[in-house]
């Protein structure tokens, strides 16, 4: 993958950079940067109504990315809503589902969730007098279908869960969870937070049979500022708008307003056009490298890292999740007697970028009784040398605080 690393210009600007925080945001390949820049350099028009060449071209390319995103997920074009990020996608969904939640209903989430797939549902439940139920996770960091079923009944309106935990890095059996949830309640709406999965593992919404799925562009090699909400056409087309304003109405008068059909109904205002163009280039990048190749490479690096960390630090390191064979690029850990923030800070002073804290998953850390964890996450540009540098860096951390 050395040729792939060459496609990321940040390594020209910062040759010593050891970037191990791709679960927070992935680095950006040159093709994506070029796509963003070429929008401003060659088109720079708004989408929608313009009747001149650059406006028509901008609209055509924008809609072509929608088409490409649909193919990427195995969906139809009109099932793809562009948002700012995963957080906005889930907030949008929680907002438009509001009328369907009655007092006495319940919403089911899991204890693994990132705050962005937890707080919108918690707020919705509170607002509508519904109950929020939280499915516990297994020690390997996954959700079991049989356990989830115990929390789902005829009053469950929504079951929201992540495809891959951003702390454990363990994939959930998404298709099985959806199937088992619908066994308990055929009318349930299943929502998948695919922020850690999109661009890193294969996703096909038809096979998963989920009703909704959300991801962010910037975590799958795209620019910040664009996210995606997929929704089954039959459901999406019945939901009310989120924000109202320009770009989403057929006709607006004082007495009545006619909104556009989905997905445009959910995209009020000028979107982040440049980032949508960038997302298109990011999906091309993923396709060129190959989704299975990306998955195997990232999981492989994580597996190597875990084995080297355990060999080096023995009983003093505690690694969360599946240890012998990782299924994503994420490796979260703690070192005895050293606070994760001190680990990250010392490594950061040597240009080794890892994450420390709760990773926006406070409920998960409460369950584990950990104030924080350190997280290294690997992607296509990480070399074996990066793992060695991380291990050497951690040896220095231990020397600093433990001698």
């Amino acid at each position: 993958m050395q040729t792939i690393k060459n496609q990321f210009p940040i390594f020209d600007a910062r040759p010593g950079l050891v970037y191990l925080d791709s679960a927070a945001t992935a680095l950006t390949p040159i093709s994506v940067i070029d796509a963003v820049s070429s929008y401003y350099g060659t088109l720079s028009a708004n989408v929608g109504r313009g009747l001149y060449a650059t406006a028509e071209e901008t609209t055509a390319q924008f809609e072509a990315v929608r088409e490409k995103t649909a193919r990427f997920l195995g969906a139809k074009r009109d099932e793809i809503v562009f948002t700012r990020n995963t957080t906005e996608a889930i907030n949008l969904l929680a907002y438009v589902l509001e009328d369907q939640i009655e007092p006495g209903d319940n919403i089911v989430v899991t204890a693994l969730e990132h705050h962005s797939n937890f707080l919108p549902w918690k707020r919705l439940a509170e607002k509508r007098g519904a109950e929020l139920r939280i499915v516990p996770f297994e020690t390997d960091g996954s959700i079991k279908g049989e356990i989830a079923q115990e929390y789902i009944d005829s009053k469950t309106k929504v079951f929201a869960f992540s495809a891959i935990s951003n702390v454990f890095g363990t994939p959930n059996p998404v298709a099985e969870l959806v199937r088992m949830a619908k066994e308990m309640n055929p009318d349930i709406m299943t929502v998948v937070d695919a922020a850690q999965a999109a661009g890193h593992s294969h996703i096909d919404v038809r096979t998963l049979n989920c009703d909704f799925l959300a991801f962010s562009g910037h975590k799958c090699f795209g620019p910040t500022g664009v996210g995606v909400l997929y929704g089954k056409e039959a459901i999406l087309s019945t939901l009310p708008p989120y924000q109202v304003g320009g770009g989403m109405v057929q006709d607006a008068r004082a007495e009545e307003t006619a909104y556009k059909d989905s997905p445009h109904r959910f995209e009020a205002g000028t979107p982040d056009i440049a980032s949508v163009f960038g997302l298109g280039a990011a999906l091309d990048f993923v396709e060129e490298v190959g989704i299975d190749a990306i998955h195997d490479y990232e999981s492989g690096r994580a597996t190597q890292a875990v084995s080297k960390l355990e060999k080096t630090f023995g009983d003093s390191i505690h690694i969360l999740g599946l240890n012998d064979r990782r299924e994503s690029g994420i490796v979260s850990f703690t070192l005895d007697g050293i606070h994760p923030h001190d680990i990250a800070q010392v490594l950061g002073e040597h240009d080794i970028c890892i994450r420390a804290g709760e990773h926006c998953a406070a409920p998960l850390h409460r369950v584990l009784s950990l104030p924080a964890t350190a997280r290294a996450s690997f992607s296509v540009y990480n070399t074996k040398t990066d793992i060695d540098t991380l291990v050497e860096g951690l040896k220095n951390v231990v020397k600093l605080f433990k001698s």
Binding site: H339, H341, D342, E349, G357, E358, P371, A372, F401
Partner: protein
């Protein structure tokens, strides 16, 4: 960039001074920093307007624990009035480093806990 972990911070985080509780404290305060999950608890004995004794317990990152150790050391036998006027800059001067906004919260937790103890939690009054 010089390391945040200068000798003084490492020394105080590994060997914190004034660590423990005071059975006869007349002031007590507790505070938390959600960023790092740091927590501090301080017991203070005041006499004649002075800090006669002070101890702390806590857990968290090296910065928060070193800062508590340094602060408790520096305020002993000082007038309460003076201690209440301490500013974030005074804490940074004790630590001898510059901090990013995120880590500043770790460093200032000790001052927050101490001021809380001195102003709100007079055990004799409650």
């Amino acid at each position: 960039m010089p390391s945040l972990y200068q000798a003084i911070i490492l020394d105080h985080s590994k060997h914190p001074r004034n660590c423990g509780e005071l059975a006869h404290a007349n002031h007590h305060g507790e505070a938390k920093n959600p960023t790092c999950g740091d927590s501090l608890s301080m017991d203070v004995i005041t006499e004649n307007g002075l800090i006669a004794d002070i101890r702390f317990t806590g857990q968290g990152c090296a910065i928060s624990q070193a800062s508590a150790s340094l602060l408790t050391e520096s305020v002993k036998d000082k007038p309460i009035e003076t201690v209440l006027t301490l500013t974030p800059d005074d804490i940074l001067a004790l630590l001898g480093v510059e901090l990013s906004p995120n880590r500043l919260k770790c460093a200032l937790l000790s001052l927050e806990t101490l001021k809380l103890a001195l102003t709100k939690n007079d055990k004799n009054l409650s």
